[in-house]
Symmetry: C2
């Protein structure tokens, strides 16, 4: 079953990662009506203050969540990769408290929120899977608070690179040598709470130390374990089950 019959199969697979779904649950999800919207880079998927009526699922491309301070500083609070649900955080909230934006050109499957809510009640496994998905998001938020609050610059960046590596790997989206990180250094700075200049210097230092290699925005990892060590990375918080990445 390698070629998806429906775009929503990606969603069922993602949900199954953390929470059991039986065939009937899966079929019920696949039977939901959906549409596809293509978003250009920097295009907004959700804006703070919005009352979302749909639930988006990222099919292709990358997206990010962010908040702004009163004087315009931006903090990215989450990164999303293909397969990630984008609106479960607003599943039962009236008004979005943050923004979601496409990082690259992205295809998003849109499901009517009311229908998904009904299904989540009619089929408790589905409701549970949606809930679990948001709990894992929350766990990642907590780790990011730690990352930004208590780690020095090299560890912060290494940690984010490790997290993305593991998450992409779990979705089968890594390539031989690492992965493509479709992000400017300014955006990465907003992920880790640093300035772009300092991110640039820190990336160069990591590269000089043999912890990463860069080519354009392709990053690879000559010594993955050393990078994990520098980044103080322990993937328990991702709740992927199983142990360390090989």
């Amino acid at each position: 079953m390698s070629s998806p019959k429906s775009s929503l199969e990606l969603l069922t697979r993602k949900l199954s990662t953390h929470s059991p779904l039986d065939d009937a649950d899966r079929d019920a999800i696949l039977a939901l009506p959906w549409t596809i919207r293509t978003i250009e880079p920097q295009g907004y998927i959700v804006r703070e203050g919005d009352v979302p009526a749909v639930c988006g699922v990222l099919l292709t491309g990358f997206a990010f969540r962010h908040k702004l301070t009163g004087d315009g500083a931006r903090q990215i609070v989450a990164l999303h990769i293909p397969g990630d649900p984008l609106d479960f955080q607003n599943f039962y909230l009236d008004e979005s408290d943050h923004n979601v934006q496409a990082l690259t050109r992205s295809d998003v499957a849109l499901i009517d929120r009311a229908e998904l809510r009904e299904l989540s009640i009619a089929r408790p496994n589905v409701g549970r899977a949606i809930f679990v998905s948001t709990l894992v998001d929350a766990s990642i938020f907590r780790e990011w608070i730690l990352n930004v609050g208590r780690r020095a610059a090299p560890a912060r960046i290494a940690h984010v690179l490790c997290e993305l590596g593991v998450r992409l790997e779990a979705q089968g989206l890594t390539n031989d040598h690492g992965y493509h990180l479709p992000m400017t250094q300014e955006q990465l700075a907003d992920v880790v709470g640093l300035t772009p200049v300092h991110v640039n210097r820190t990336l160069k230092a990591l590269e000089a130390g043999g912890l990463i290699k860069r080519n354009r925005r392709q990053v690879s990892f000559p010594d993955w374990q050393a990078l994990r060590d520098v980044g103080d990375f322990n993937q328990r918080y991702l709740h992927l089950g199983g142990g360390q990445r090989a």
Copy 2:
């Protein structure tokens, strides 16, 4: 209905804040069996790696969630006040990814997790209320990432003081002049991602600027609006409904 018939009435009230419960829902919650455990200051309620079988609800006292880096630095990722559920973040996760500890001597009502899960399916309003509670937690996590990642020390501390003020006020737990903050400066430092020394200096600066007054650990707010401004505080992320605090 001012004197609680059951400790769980506090929980029903808290859940009703964000999500509708009818009388039958409330009765069903109140009918759940529960026990009370008293936890001494610094006592653990949940440890990283635990597989929680119960769901705690904080009845009295304060608690906090935290994570540690590999070299022992601590980051507090959430503060909890009476009425707050403590284990919904682990409602469907197998293994806790962080610690929950009592800040003060606390009474915690313990509900069997399996029973609460069953109720959450049998009564969708209850399930929804639990879900919403975790979504609001997640919203606070996001705001804290922003706080720690993108605000300077005075704003970070002011923001946390505002958040606690609003949350305590919503629970009717403030006193005439402010509230009692039962926390050492070292713990506050771990909330905002600073060192205790710098927190001390920043608190003194806030006090010198007329933004807060301190007496022991009682804090009060001579100019609440100015503190909100300094802390860049907008309470939308708390999802309390309504507008600004008077």
